[in-house]
C-alpha cells in the first residue's frame, strides 16, 4: 500500500467517525436524536470550543502547567530510577534486601497515592510531579537494572582484556548498556509522566489539562470535556514525536528493523 493510499484511508476513518457523530447528534432518525447532544455534544461544538480556547489564549496556561509537571516528573523520575537501578544492579546484596519492597510499591496502583501527595505537597504542581515520578521511576529503574544485568559477558571480558578498570567498565560498558535500555523505554516513561500530571490535576488542582477536563465535567459541559481530551491527545502526540526524534539521535548505533530497506 502506498503512503498516499494509507493516508487517505486514515483520514477516511476520521471523517466517517466524526461525520456519524455529527449526524447522530443533530439529525432525528425515526423522530428521535439517537445521541442526545447534552451527553454527547457535537463535533462542531467541540471544534468551536477548541478554537475559542486558542483564540482567547486561555488554553496556554493549562498546557504550560501540564508540560512543566510532565517534564519535571520525567526528569526527576528518570534520574532517580536510573541511579537506583544502576546501584542495585551493581550491588546484588542491596537489591536482594529491597526486592520485596520494590515489588510491593510497584504493585500499588499509583492513583491511591494522589490524595497523600496532595496532603503533603498541596494542590500546586509538586503533588502532580510526585505522582508522575512514582510512575516514571519504576519504568526507568527496571530498565536500567536490566540493562546493567544483561551486558554481554563477552563484551565485558573484552573491556577487561583491553585494560579497563572497574570505573572505566562503568563508563564504557555498563552505562551505555543501561542507557540503551532506558532509551528504549522512553515512550513509556514519557507517557507515564503525562499520565501522572493529568491524573493528579484531575483529582485536585487549579490549572492544567486535567483540571480543564474536570471543571467542564463538573458543570456537565460535555463539549468542554471532549475539547480537553482532543487537546490532551494532540499534546501527547507532539511529545511522542519529539521523543522519537531524540531516540533516533541517541540510538544511532542500534540496528533498526528497517535498516536493510534503507
Amino acid at each position: 500500500m502506498s503512503r498516499l493510499t494509507l493516508l487517505t484511508l486514515q483520514i477516511l476513518v476520521a471523517v466517517v467517525v466524526i461525520g456519524l457523530w455529527q449526524v447522530l447528534t443533530s439529525v432525528p432518525i425515526f423522530g428521535t436524536v439517537l445521541l442526545p447532544p447534552f451527553f454527547f455534544s457535537r463535533p462542531l461544538d467541540v471544534a468551536l470550543r477548541i478554537v475559542k480556547w486558542f483564540a482567547d489564549g486561555t488554553i496556554w496556561v493549562h498546557l504550560w502547567i501540564t508540560l512543566t509537571e510532565s517534564v519535571l516528573a520525567f526528569v526527576i523520575g528518570s534520574l532517580g530510577g536510573g541511579l537506583v537501578g544502576f546501584w542495585f544492579a551493581r550491588k546484588p546484596l542491596i537489591a536482594a534486601v529491597f526486592d520485596p519492597y520494590v515489588k510491593m510499591i510497584n504493585a500499588l496502583p499509583r492513583v491511591v497515592l494522589a490524595p497523600i501527595f496532595a496532603l503533603w505537597l498541596g494542590l500546586g504542581i509538586w503533588s502532580k510531579v510526585a505522582l508522575g515520578v512514582t510512575l516514571v521511576f519504576f519504568v526507568v529503574f527496571f530498565n536500567v537494572y536490566q540493562g546493567v544485568k544483561e551486558v554481554s559477558p563477552t563484551v565485558l571480558a573484552n573491556g577487561r582484556m583491553l585494560g579497563m578498570s572497574e570505573r572505566q567498565l562503568m563508563r564504557h560498558v555498563y552505562w551505555p548498556s543501561a542507557l540503551s535500555w532506558m532509551f528504549s523505554s522512553l515512550h513509556t516513561s514519557v507517557g507515564f509522566a503525562v499520565v501522572g500530571a493529568v491524573v493528579g490535576e484531575y483529582l485536585g488542582s487549579a490549572a492544567g489539562l486535567g483540571y480543564l477536563i474536570q471543571q467542564a465535567e463538573g458543570v456537565f459541559d460535555v463539549a468542554g470535556v471532549f475539547a480537553g481530551m482532543v487537546v490532551l491527545a494532540a499534546f501527547v502526540i507532539v511529545i511522542d514525536m519529539l521523543v522519537s526524534m531524540v531516540e533516533r539521535r541517541l540510538l544511532v548505533w542500534r540496528p533498526m528493523a528497517h535498516d536493510a530497506h534503507g
Partner: protein, 279 residues
C-alpha cells in the same frame, strides 16, 4: 605489563605462555562438577605461532581463557614470560570467538578505546586508531557502528582493537570461524602480514586443520572432551612468508595434512558421538 617482562629476564628464554598440567572444571547447576580440561600442558615461545585444533566442545576456548586469566584452573600453573599469572593477563590481547566489539562505539572509537583507557590523549589515540583501521583495510569505515559492518569487517575491527595496544601475546579464538572461505583466506593473509611485521607469541584456536597448518609454526591437537588433553604436537616447517591460498597446493602441506588428519579424525568422531553431534 612491565612486571611480567622483568620477571621473565631471570629465566633463560622464557616461554610467552607456559601452561603446565592444567585441569579446569566447571560447577554445574546441579552442583556436580564438569572437568573440561585435564592435565593439559602447552608452551608457546615468544614470537611463535601455535594453532590449537580440536573437535568442538573439547575445551579450546577454556584453555585460552585460562591463558588470559579469565578462568582460574583447578590445578596446574599458568606462566606468562616465566612469571606465574595472577589475575588478568595484561600482556595479552584477546580476539574473542563471539562478537565483542562495543556496539555503542564506532569502529574508530572501538579501536581507540584500548589506548584511551591507558591514558593516551584522545586525539592521539584516535589518530593511531585511524592508522590501524587503514592497516586492516577499513580506512573509510571509521564512523560506522558495528551493526553496519559485515562479519569480516567486524573481525578486522576486532583485530585492530587488540593489536593497537601492542600485546606481547595474542590469543585468538576461532577468529575467522563464521566467515566464508574467501574472506577467511584474506583474513589469514592479513593476520600473517601483521604478525610478521611484529612477531609475538600467538595461540590461535581453530577447528579448521587446513587453516591451522597454513598459518602456524606448530599445530597442537586436543582430544575430545570431557577431560580433554593435548594429544599431538606437530612442527610445521613450511617456509615463510606464506600465502594462505597457495600454500594449500604445496606437496609438503598435503603430507602434513594427511598425517595430522589421521589422528584428528578419530578425535572428531569421538567428540561427535559424545556431544550427540550437536557441536
Amino acid at each position: 605489563m612491565q612486571q611480567a617482562a622483568t620477571g621473565a629476564d631471570a629465566a633463560a628464554s622464557p616461554c610467552a605462555v607456559h601452561l603446565a598440567d592444567l585441569t579446569i572444571a566447571f560447577r554445574l547447576a546441579d552442583r556436580s562438577t564438569f572437568t573440561a580440561v585435564r592435565d593439559a600442558s602447552l608452551s608457546v615461545a615468544d614470537g611463535e605461532f601455535v594453532a590449537i585444533v580440536g573437535p568442538t566442545g573439547c575445551g579450546k576456548s577454556t584453555l585460552l581463557n585460562a591463558a588470559a586469566g579469565l578462568l582460574v584452573p583447578a590445578t596446574g600453573t599458568v606462566e606468562i614470560f616465566g612469571a606465574p599469572l595472577v589475575g588478568l593477563n595484561r600482556t595479552a590481547g584477546y580476539l574473542f570467538q563471539a562478537d565483542a566489539l562495543f556496539p555503542w562505539k564506532t569502529s574508530l572509537e572501538n579501536v581507540a578505546i584500548g589506548l584511551e583507557v591507558a591514558g593516551t590523549p584522545r586525539q592521539e589515540a584516535r589518530d593511531e586508531a585511524a592508522a590501524w583501521l587503514r592497516r586492516v583495510g577499513l580506512g573509510s569505515f571509521g564512523d560506522r557502528y558495528p551493526h553496519m559492518l559485515s562479519g569480516g569487517q567486524r573481525k578486522r575491527v576486532g583485530l585492530a582493537q587488540v593489536l593497537i595496544r601492542h600485546p606481547k601475546i595474542l590469543l585468538m579464538d576461532e577468529p575467522f570461524g563464521p566467515l566464508d572461505a574467501q574472506t577467511r583466506q584474506i583474513m589469514g593473509n592479513l593476520l600473517l602480514e601483521l604478525w610478521s611485521a611484529d612477531r609475538k607469541g600467538v595461540m590461535f584456536v581453530t577447528h579448521d586443520l587446513e587453516e591451522a597448518i597454513a598459518l602456524a609454526d606448530r599445530v597442537v591437537i586436543m582430544s575430545a572432551g570431557p577431560a580433554a588433553r593435548i594429544i599431538g604436537d606437530w612442527t610445521i616447517p613450511l617456509a615463510r612468508p606464506r600465502e594462505v591460498a597457495e600454500i594449500k597446493l604445496d606437496k609438503a602441506f598435503h603430507d602434513l595434512h594427511r598425517e595430522i588428519w589421521a589422528m584428528l579424525r578419530d578425535e572428531v568422531m569421538k567428540g561427535y558421538v559424545q556431544t550427540g553431534g550437536l557441536g
